[in-house]
């Protein structure tokens, strides 16, 4: 099976680990992930002002690229890209006037957009197209005894019209982790915001969020936290320095992308992991569990 793939900007630098483990683990599952030949930044956030159509131009241009690649659907793993692309697509599908205006604005494009591309998040694709039973069957190194706190943050589950699981109490990542042989732990703050872009100008707010979210993961003796968003990863992992500064009794955990655990369980080459990109090095823990 071939699958068109939109990585998003941060997966090409700070989140190379997310990008490479996505491609490697999907290959193990018989899915050939094909990165679009041309793509641009999705804009990262869905513009909420009803009168600002400009903010749809970036995501819709990507939908046009998917069409031009000959695909009718595509997948992305980044939660923010997913949210932005999916919401822009939904907007174009239900607002013919906005779609017409945008196509006029993008008149230099060879292809017109007609709402005819489907947006998938990788988790959704794994559950609905690959199947967690098939994933479980492909596991060569079960993640036995690894206690995992699955962090969803905001963009996978809100607003409801883009959520592919329950907005308040999602379970798709827990089900995926269980298929890999690991133990998902209860995690009260799994869908509470990490502070997002306050990482730029208000790091003390992020420090506060990171402290609370890590505390919630530690309350059920998690070994690691997994994420699907490079901004969540930055805030929960790299901003642990800041969290310690503001909260002296702060305790941190390694933070991994869910695809990194997939790659380990499916026996992919370690070269895809890029553990050097992590702030808290997960290797000691993984070695201790016989997983690295």
């Amino acid at each position: 099976m071939k699958l068109a793939y939109y990585p998003g900007c941060t997966l090409k630098n700070h989140a190379r680990n997310f990008d490479d483990t996505t491609v490697a683990s999907m290959a193990r599952l018989g899915v050939e992930v094909r990165e679009l030949e041309r793509w641009n930044c999705c804009g990262t956030v869905h513009g909420l002002a009803s009168d600002n159509l400009m903010q749809r131009a970036a995501p819709v241009t990507n939908l046009i690229r998917v069409k031009e690649s000959g695909a009718g659907e595509f997948m992305t793993g980044c939660a923010m890209c997913y949210n932005t692309l999916k919401r822009a697509n939904q907007h174009m599908r239900k607002d013919a006037a906005a779609l017409a205006t945008l196509n006029d604005f993008l008149s230099l494009e060879e292809t017109q957009y007609a709402g005819d591309v489907d947006v998938f998040h990788l988790l959704e694709f794994l559950r609905d197209r690959v199947g967690f039973d098939k994933l479980a069957a492909a596991v060569t190194k079960p993640l036995k005894g690894l206690r995992v706190a699955c962090y969803y943050g905001c963009m996978l589950v809100r607003p409801r019209e883009v959520a592919f699981d329950d907005s308040e109490s999602p379970a798709i990542m827990e089900n995926l982790i269980a298929a890999l042989g690991a133990t998902p732990v209860p995690f009260a703050l799994k869908a509470e915001c990490c502070g997002a872009y306050h990482a730029v100008g208000r790091p003390e707010i992020v420090a506060d969020r990171t402290d609370k979210i890590m505390g919630s993961a530690l309350a059920h003796a998690a070994d690691i936290v997994i994420v699907s968003c490079p901004l969540c990863a930055h805030n929960l992992d790299h901003k642990q320095v800041e969290a310690k500064k503001h909260h002296p009794d702060f305790h941190g955990l390694p933070v991994l992308y869910f695809t990194q655990l997939m790659a380990i369980a499916l026996g992919c080459d370690d070269a895809a992991q890029h553990f050097e990109l992590h702030h808290v090095d997960p290797r000691p823990l993984l070695t201790d569990r016989g997983l690295a």
Binding site: G8, C9, T10, N13, H14, A15, C41, G43, T44, V45, G47, L48, A49, S50, D51, N52, Q55, C78, M80, C154, R158, P159, R160, S167, E168, E192, C193, G195, A196, Y197, H198, A199, V200, G201, R202, I205, D208, R209, C229, P230, L231, H234, H238
Partner: protein, 139 residues
Amino acid sequence: MTTTIRLSAARLSSPFVRQVEKISGQKLLACYQCGKCSAGCPMAPHMDMLPNQIIRLAQLGMEEKLLASNAIWICVSCMTCNTRCPKDVRIAEVIEAIRATVLRTNARNDRLASADFLPETLAALPPIALIAGLRKLTS
């Protein structure tokens, strides 16, 4: 402590109220002040007024108070309030509209400037953080 608020019919239908309703696509008077949005807001501890108070002041056309608040810049559009509001008010859209009111004036009222950061700080930040911040906090 007592607070005196002067209300007038002119404020309730002021250009500001109409603009916020138009940009946000929301009917402000739908909110009946249950407080659920504020109860679940992860940013509330850092705000000088709570999300339900923002909606209340917007209903009443209290433009100066709203535009001077820090809360409108602290909201990160996490959408928790939107998914929980029993009246289906999209609070995050209302706050975006109030931010837009400030950012769309001719004065550069940007709340983030990359020039303020050390090169090391900028290099350590992933593009996803910078672009999101610039999109939300600058004109």
